[in-house]
Subunit: 688 residues, 2 copies
């Protein structure tokens, strides 16, 4: 085989030599480097080997796939060429600017190839697929077939020798010596011994060491954002520090929050999230229940950030000092928890930036400040900066994150990110994670599906979801199925909050204690990330009439609670979190399968963790008012078992063991105990 | 709004001005121009407006979408931005190197936008989506809401005036005059009249004429290959000219083929396809039934191309002269047909190129020529050139096409393209279609699914398929569903041959005349492209025992036939082709829906053409041995009709009219008349 006719095909195409593993960086060689109009002209000779349908891939590599440390990245692609050529393929990958590594791919079925990359460090991993025609491998394959058919192989021996000599001519160092030695051996023997030498692994390995593949092709470069486990598995508890005082009517403090930590730890939560803790503006402050007129002593909404006491980098004076804050960080750590802060880009008219950086804010033609609005509504307690007014604003906002990171915070819940420029978040998250890769960003974007997903694509670690409004069997099945499908599964990590200070769902308002149990069980078992807002554990649900908002919302007033109130579900929450801690199947929303339970009020699903043979079966009665019973199928087929086989079962809520024999079983779930969680594996003997 | 902070975000990003419609070419501005690693750095400000999920698109624009002249290209994309900004979007498109045109896109639902591009000329059309923030549109929307709410709008009036003035400052020519006039009018009135002026269409149009959108974003450039109608809709008839002599035992000629044209035209075929018509080698010639020993007078396989009489640009002497060939082209045209030639890159050892261009062929170390092989099998009547031996080979092969194009041929059936380099075909097809856009290439690649699809992606107009081996209801439903789904539907045009000289399907071997009727009806109604190889119309099916090959295959000997033999299905084929000619729903494999017929032996489907309210309903009894009957559903829901409604029906095979009332109907199909074709539309009155 002589040189490919590169010159005629595409004068600018890299030569075959340049396509070797040690050639230019993958970026320069991406197939996408060719403009689309090149399709109407000549093709690069490298395209003789096709690489298609790489997975995982988000928008063809425009955005990073998300994974966590300790996971494997399973890379697959369709790889094939014309003719009957033997191919070889590998995944090339690197962390950040490190040197490129290679992992060999193996064919699976129907031109699909696969490799497994263990992910051991946080950061951005780049990868691409390389595939090539393996001439020596093809020679070995064909010659072995002829040998088996008993054909004379004199000429094949000479062809094989030529391939060895060709590789030897390209080689250097130890590889050259090895090939020279092989050629000497070859010339010293004859007939079958020559063929045996050519087909032996030693010859193949010697040729492969030279990297003598032909028509090397590369896929586009893809990226994986590798994050720590809390990015995908964590249990959040949200509280307003100002409500945590033990003395009724007294404004709570960060020190009061420290006193709550043992209680929260006992429930099994590992992230403690606080709405904004910064100084609250007084201009146009809102009163209780969002009243436009304020009464003396009304604390105001913590989302009206900024007062003469400071802005986003300050603490509300009544909450305590920076020293108190650091004490809370340390105490939380001692209780197995970390803090999550709220980040809301909205300022009260008293925010210091309005005086310090007037150029960051839009003024109207009459000289007045432009308030936030959703025409015809206007929000006169809030001013938004103009993100395209001045370069320094972006850095200023970024520095707020860095300030709190310096205080030990690694998790931020971002308020309404969909109403601020997408490029700002993309820049901010990349910039911060480059400095502190532990940083986690939760997007609170209750918006349309496509913007919600886009925020995850541009870097948000986790996202609030529509879970709160998905109540029926069909709704939950459809939503989890969507979240489990590619490409969403590869970039969007759902956070299932059962309630928030803004969302008091009708299901909880009307369903009583069983409704709280139902929603807790769904969130804690369907998603790796779940959270409750305080009050949920004592089944608080009094609404503003006809609204999804809470009566006497804590956003506008103090709400001290008796967390041991009768009817609380503290024990059940603690049990769910304890199961989450030890069951890998509960560490992700992925790996869910919905099975047949013949009752529309019973959602019944399995969860399996990668590499685990056992699985959890979970059934939830979605009806908080009535007991529900049904026949249901145990998924014997997941282990290739016949319908008559048996499963060993452990009831994880009650700790007892038993056996299910045969595919069809029955269950009954009372509103007072509306869910069941079983861990199952095949029984040792198949039932008759 | 001041200048965007471009400098900090990305020093290399184009300025906003550069992103105007008159800026650089789309290629330079593609979002893909950013290397993936840019995702970890700053984002371009243009990415504030997201453009995702463009359709149609093949491999993210790497390959062209296929359409035919007269079709509309419906372009869709997800388009959205952060916040509540008003957006506008357009498709920019151009044919070849023409200037860019624009078609406005309109929102459909859930951030999906759409535009319709009529395709009026053959060639490569490039298109991309442009989207931007429409500041003036957003002002109009918000101000209208405030007006409706009865708010005071003094400041809004000033804001609107500022927007007009801003546009006026950017404008020139007529647009500037229009805006100046508007500003003068504005200043001459007050209050509500100012607002009315700002919200009027005239103001919007004046601003839009300046193109004052912000944050202009562009998608990747996509391509559409627009071809003539025969690319997607044609009925092929294949014959061996050497068998067409009216005198038994005499070698047929091209003049004999002319005599067959009226018969073929009467059956309704419009493409006449001939296997290779070039000189046939004598070296290692194969005898009848592929025998390795040849008898005197055996004509040899026409796929062993080349003899001292010439190569691929010559005619086999017994078939006639180039003058005869041109006469055949003309006669075919007179009979409403065009010719399709075979192109097989394989040479007999006698091919003139072996002497003229020895450098195009591989010799083995012992000096012998390398025959085609599939180890351990070797094909000693065939030599393949080495595509990477010498640059001139590609031009030499291309010139063969140009030679026959000069003789009036516009359709080529390419033999086994998957065993020749993919880049060769990509280059060849682009090169030829640039010279003669009417040229059609049919890929005969009976290979694995992914290489089969890849050949279509790189430019083959049409493709042989797995249809011949899809016989059951499930197989046919699955296959047609796959061919109708994106992205396959956008680049792969299936050609449903019912038989070929190489494929004598078991279903035809064992099913008798009804089997031929069944397969003809399926191919002719399920695909825009179908074809038969001569002998099919007289139900020839004698196989080599246990093989899919024909006994006494015409590939190795003359086969003169009585085309009026008893039991022929000429009338039925003619009727199917006549229906195809007048029913737009039969012009494509697209637009098929499979409906419920409660019998696994009856395939029942609907076909609808875009923009047509009526549809065809087709039922085929897949069992050639027994009558089959069933209840079936008429798809009243396709027109939003209740289950009690009625359809007006025309039986297209028998010409009579009737009405179906109610969703459930019954049918019975005999083996002798195994299919039904009905044209239906809603009855004028709904049945009670």
């Amino acid at each position: 085989m002589k040189a490919a006719p590169v010159a005629r095909l595409d004068p600018d195409a890299p030569s075959l030599d340049a396509l070797s593993p040690d050639g230019p960086s993958p970026d320069a060689l991406s197939q996408d480097a060719a403009s689309p109009s090149a399709l109407t002209k000549a093709a690069s000779p490298a395209q003789r080997v096709a690489i298609e349908a790489i997975s995982p891939s988000v928008d063809n590599g425009r955005f990073a796939v998300k994974r966590t440390i300790g996971e494997s990245l399973i890379v697959e692609a369709d790889i094939f060429a014309d003719g009957h050529e033997q191919l070889s393929a590998a995944v090339e990958w690197r962390l950040g600017a490190d040197k490129w590594n290679r992992v060999a791919m193996a064919p699976v079925v129907n031109d699909r190839w696969r490799a497994n990359l263990p992910l051991k460090s946080q950061g951005i991993v780049q990868f691409r697929v390389e595939a090539q025609i393996d001439s020596y491998g093809g020679f070995v394959r064909d010659t072995a077939r002829k040998l088996e058919a008993g054909l004379a192989l004199n000429v094949e021996a000479q062809e094989g020798r030529a391939l060895l000599a060709q590789a030897q001519a390209q080689a250097s160092g130890a590889a050259k010596s090895a090939l020279s030695a092989l050629l000497t051996k070859f010339d010293a023997v004859t007939g079958e011994a020559q063929i045996a030498l050519l087909l032996a692994d030693a010859a193949k390995e010697a040729v492969y060491a030279v990297g003598a593949g032909k028509f090397v092709a590369h896929s586009d470069v893809q990226e994986v954002r590798v994050e720590r486990q809390a990015a995908s598995f964590a249990s959040w508890y949200e509280l307003f520090p100002r409500s945590q005082s033990a003395t009724p009517g007294r404004h709570g403090s960060l020190r009061d929050v420290i006193a709550q930590l043992p209680r929260i730890q006992a429930m099994g939560f590992d992230v403690l999230y606080m709405p904004p803790i910064h100084p609250i503006g007084t201009a146009n402050r809102k009163g209780a229940n969002n009243a436009l007129t304020v009464r003396p002593g009304d604390p105001g909404s913590p989302y009206a950030i900024g007062s003469p006491a400071g802005g986003h980098d300050a603490l509300h004076p009544e909450l305590g000092s920076l020293e108190d804050f650091r004490a809370l960080v340390a105490a939380a750590r001692d209780h197995g928890m970390e803090l999550a802060l709220d980040f809301a880009v909205q300022m009260s008219p008293d925010h210091p930036w309005l005086k310090q950086h007037p150029e960051w804010f839009t003024r109207r033609p009459d000289g007045t400040i432009k308030y936030a609005e959703n025409p015809p509504k206007k929000y006169e307690d809030i001013v938004n900066p103009d993100f395209y007014a001045d370069d320094a604003l972006w850095n200023g906002l970024r520095d707020i994150f860095l300030h709190w990171i310096d205080q030990g915070v690694r998790i931020f819940r971002v308020d309404n990110p969909h109403t601020k420029p997408l490029p700002f978040w993309q820049w901010l998250i990349a910039d911060i994670q480059a400095k502190q890769p532990d940083t986690i960003f939760l997007a609170e974007a209750f918006t349309r599906p496509k913007p919600m997903y886009r925020l995850a694509k541009i870097g948000f670690t986790q996202s609030y979801t529509y879970f709160t409004w998905r109540n029926t069997k069909q709704e939950l099945t459809d939503y989890l199925t969507e979240l489990n499908a590619a490409p969403v599964r590869d970039f969007f990590r759902p956070h299932f909050f059962v309630n928030t200070p803004d969302i008091n769902p009708p299901f909880l308002q009307t369903g009583g204690r069983p409704a709280f149990l139902i929603r807790a069980a769904l969130a804690a078992t369907l998603s790796g990330l779940w959270g409750i807002y305080s009050g949920f554990e004592i089944c608080e649900a009094a609404p503003l009439p006809g609204r999804e908002e809470y009566q006497d919302s804590e956003k506008y007033q103090l709400r001290q609670r008796n967390y041991a109130a009768p009817g609380n579900i503290v024990r059940e929450i603690a049990q769910l979190n304890a199961l989450r801690a030890v069951e890998p199947a509960l560490h992700s929303h992925l790996g869910v399968s919905f099975y047949n339970a013949f009752n529309d009020n019973i959602l019944y699903y399995g969860k399996a963790a990668p590499g685990h043979d056992e699985r959890l079966l979970i059934a939830v009665n979605l009806d908080p008012h009535h007991a529900q019973a049904c026949d249901f199928e145990i998924p014997l087929w997941e282990w290739g078992l016949p319908d008559t086989a048996a499963l060993q079962v452990e009831d994880l809520l009650h700790g007892y063991h038993f056996t299910w024999s045969g595919k069809l079983q029955t269950m009954r779930l009372e509103p007072a105990a509306p869910y069941a969680i079983w861990r199952v594996r095949p029984a040792r003997k198949v039932a008759s």
